[in-house]
Amino acid sequence: MDHLDELEAQSIYILREAFARLKKLALLWSLGKDSNVMIWLARKAFFGRVPFPAMHVDTGKKFPEMYAFRDRFGKEWDLDLRVEPCPSIDSVDPTLPPAARSAARKTEGLKLALNKYGFDGLIAGIRRDEEATRAKERVFSPRGLEGEWDVRDQPPEFWDQFNASPPQGAHLRIHPILHWTEADIWAYTKRENIPIIPLYLTKDGKRYRSLGDQDITNPVASTASNIDEILAELDATKIPERAGRALDHETEDAFERLRVAGYL
């Protein structure tokens, strides 16, 4: 077994645990490289079909290429796709800095969707190496009634034994690819031939490392025109993956505040 085999086996184990132990699951599909890998892993775990809905909480501000990708592969992968809108900016905490406030619409959209369907488990494609507060996440992470994350009181989790009983009326976030790195995602995408959105490849000397809303995501300088070149670039760079995400950099704790309130 090589490193990618180990990552894959662990993620499949987590997905199957979530499916076995929670009643109403959904998988959050943000259309980016990580959640595409996650859907691929779910298809592996369940032998070709994803036995729960894939939900896209849509800010309405994604790139056209992302919507095209969603419409095509939602069908090709035979997903039970639920597209859920986000409320307007007025409904969001006005004390947040602008980009974070814009991103927080997604948290509100997520809350509405949770209320609508009554999901008790949400599978999300976050990774520990993306960002320092995500590094502290559990694989099965309990959320409060409002979707909030209590970082001071996370349950113990060891030996792949997960806490799968959501508090009454609340839900669990399940993170099947928490242990993957950005390079792992690309190496696996290449090995498995998983389709990608072209925005990840260079155009006019720039490419996106991380895809979010159009207005708060910026490309980085790059000449990488295929996955091998992306991997070589990652090996050499010291620029963090989310450098192009405006909301991470507005204030010291902007991202932490978002996550505690229920953001991914």
Partner: protein, 639 residues
């Protein structure tokens, strides 16, 4: 058992080179300098992203503090404000020869659960000690927990040597004390290293200030740790996670914890001891796959015969299966606020198996920090102990020394993990070697029977309050089906309690076992082409779900939903009257513990329907769901 093998895990590095990857946890008493060491290690190995150092300087300046490495990992605002690590975190860097995943675990006693969460994933550990303060309670506690978690490789660093003037004597004193403690626990330190994490002495370089020290630096020591490997040489252990039936395949899914398997292998399913052969190993997008699959793989297999198995069963090879038991002795650590007491009812998880259990005895209870023996009636928070557990149902397990993966358990309280530990010994209720059960198949094929009876085999499960009319309907249905040439058989809950189930009472466990046996008998009849009509109150939705799993696609559930008042006025067996007068304490109906079904095939209220009408309805449902053949008489005429 040594889990550490020289073969290295190969990391898919971007540049195509292959490097081993090791996971290291850093533990120790609060304020002994864990986060500082991590920050320094990242800096010395050139692993900090651009701008991070400047950002940390700015964060420190904003707080009016000297530069603080620990801000790198203490990402949470509360952590920076209070200067402590609250939760475990992970960060990566590279040494000359390998990729290291560093797990930073909090030292604060209050966050011991987070330290364990971090340490349980590690191949090796760095235990940090403040040179001035020396070995503290928390240091010993962490040493003990590393040993309990099975982390065998521990490098000790004695930090803040600058505060003891880099004294070789002070270093030796601490080194001797901690080495004796660890060796006493069965953990041999791989190195003891004097350092100053803040200034960098001993981290990547041996500086002049510790020129008396000849051993490895911290980076050297990390370079020498070996990745732990899954245990491919041990006997096969495949805990069942689920059985999937998305199409015509019935796939048993799970992760191989040890050993390996391939198509054609004869396997034993524990704790029942049933035997089967692996027909195929399924996978997606290519299926089936040939060749052996080893420890660590998440697989799906199909079997050569239809056996009932369920989540929590463990698959092994014949002659090398795990033991089945209802009694376990375990060494555990306890993380819950409320102490674990003798006689307490707990929920334990062994792999994917969940079972209710009782703490029969507490043999030892100690504070691993003070290493003092305590009273034997309870294990306090953050303390460890040895307990005897009695399980509500048989489970398959191994002693930890035989198999570290299947020989460990966790304890859950209110849906949350509250403790965990190692299986020390298994008091096997039955022989460790499974009885060789090879089911004998019927001489008749299913279609031979259905041609005669004009129906397929089925389990018709009538559930409802006592007095709702289950037995009456069951008998009418039996008469109707028989009259049409079929082969119905009545399995009445009360009748079977007089014989097959006479050993069972009315506790939830006994009720569950009662339903399981009813379902097994009924399913056997259904597989042989008969229609088993089960009339049983079966108040628990979970128990009925078990029955449905056992009978699978043959199961038809009918909820006899007659209102409770009507049932009580009927009271055919006089039970309601007796219960009202207090003579039947666990009687369903009065105590109102009946859980009505959801997703049942049919609901009938007998208060507004004649028996004939109700029987018609059942017959219609059976025809619509493929049990009874549609045109019964025509078909019969053609034969």
């Amino acid at each position: 058992m040594n889990m550490i093998l020289p073969t290295a895990s190969i990391s898919a590095t971007p540049n195509g080179t292959t490097r081993p990857q090791v996971r290291i946890v850093i533990v120790g008493h609060v304020d002994h300098g864990k986060s500082t060491l991590v920050g320094r290690l990242l800096h010395e190995t050139g692993s900090l992203p651009d701008g991070k150092l400047e950002m940390l300087k700015a964060v420190s300046a904003r707080r009016g503090m000297p530069f603080e490495w620990s801000f790198l990992l203490d990402a949470l605002q509360t952590e920076r404000d209070q200067g402590i690590t609250i939760d475990t975190t992970q960060i990566r860097f590279r040494t000359r020869s390998r990729d290291v995943v560093l797990i930073d675990a909090p030292g604060h006693a209050e966050f011991l659960r987070n330290m364990i969460t971090g340490a349980s994933q590690a191949d090796g550990a760095v235990l940090i000690i403040d040179a001035l303060e020396g070995v503290r309670d928390q240091t010993r506690r962490h040493g003990y927990l590393l040993h309990l978690l099975g982390v065998k490789q521990v490098a000790v660093v004695v930090n803040k040597m600058d505060r003891v003037d880099f004294s070789a004597e002070r270093f030796k004193e601490i080194s001797d004390e901690i080495s004796a403690h660890l060796i006493g626990l069965g953990v041999k330190p791989t190195a003891v290293i004097p350092i100053s994490a803040r200034d960098g002495d001993g981290v990547a370089e041996r500086t002049a200030r510790i020129e008396w020290y000849k051993g490895p630096t911290v980076v050297d020591a990390l370079d020498a740790l070996e990745p732990a490997r899954p245990l491919a040489e041990l006997p096969l252990r495949l805990p069942v996670q689920a059985i999937y039936k998305f199409d015509d395949r019935r796939i048993v899914a799970g992760r191989i914890e040890s050993g390996s398997l391939k198509a054609g292998d004869e396997i034993v399913i524990m704790p029942t001891g049933k035997i089967a052969r692996i027909k195929t190993v399924e996978s997606w997008p290519v299926t089936p796959v040939n060749g052996p699959h080893g420890a660590g793989r998440s697989v799906g297999i199909t079997l050569d015969r239809e056996l009932f198995l369920e989540r929590g069963d463990i698959i092994g090879h014949s002659g090398q299966s795990p033991r089945d038991t209802r009694r376990i002795r375990a060494r555990i650590f306890w993380l819950h606020d409320k102490p674990l007491t003798k006689g307490e009812q707990i929920l334990i998880r062994l792999g994917t198996k969940e079972s209710r259990a009782t703490v029969v005895a507490i043999e030892k209870a100690i504070d691993p920090g003070a290493l003092s023996n305590e009273e034997n009636s309870a294990i306090a928070r953050n303390h460890v102990g040895e307990i005897d557990i009695s399980l509500a149902q048989p489970v398959a397990t191994d002693p930890y020394t035989d198999n570290p993966r299947t020989g460990r358990l966790v304890i859950e309280v209110n849906g949350r993990i509250a403790g965990g530990g190692l299986v020390l010994s298994v008091d096997a209720g039955r022989p460790a070697v499974p009885v060789d059960i090879v089911p004998v198949e019927s001489a008749l094929r299913a279609d031979e029977r259905s041609a005669r009876y004009h129906h397929n085999g089925a389990v018709i499960w009538l559930t409802g309050l006592p007095g709702s009319g289950k037995s009456t309907l069951a008998r009418a249905l039996e008469r109707r089906l028989f009259g049409n040439g079929g082969s119905p058989i009545l399995l009445d809950g009360d009748t079977l309690r007089a014989g097959l189930n006479s050993d069972l009472g009315f506790s939830p466990q006994d009720r569950a076992e009662n339903i399981r046996r009813l379902a097994e008998v009924a399913t056997h009849l259904a597989r042989n082409g008969h229609i088993a009509i089960v009339a049983a109150v079966s108040p628990s939705a979970a128990d009925r779900a078990t029955a449905r799993r056992i009978a699978d696609s043959a199961f038809r559930e009918i909820y006899v939903a007659t209102p409770a008042e009507v049932c009580e006025t009927r009271d055919p067996k006089g039970h309601y009257a007796k219960a009202r007068s207090g003579g039947l304490p666990s009687f369903t109906g009065i105590t109102n513990d009946y859980q009505p079904p959801a997703g049942n095939e049919l609901t009938i209220d007998t208060s507004n329907r004649s028996v004939t009408e109700a029987t018609d309805e059942i017959e219609r449902m059976l025809a619509e769901t493929g049990i009874l053949f549609d045109e019964l008489t025509d078909l019969a005429a053609n034969i």
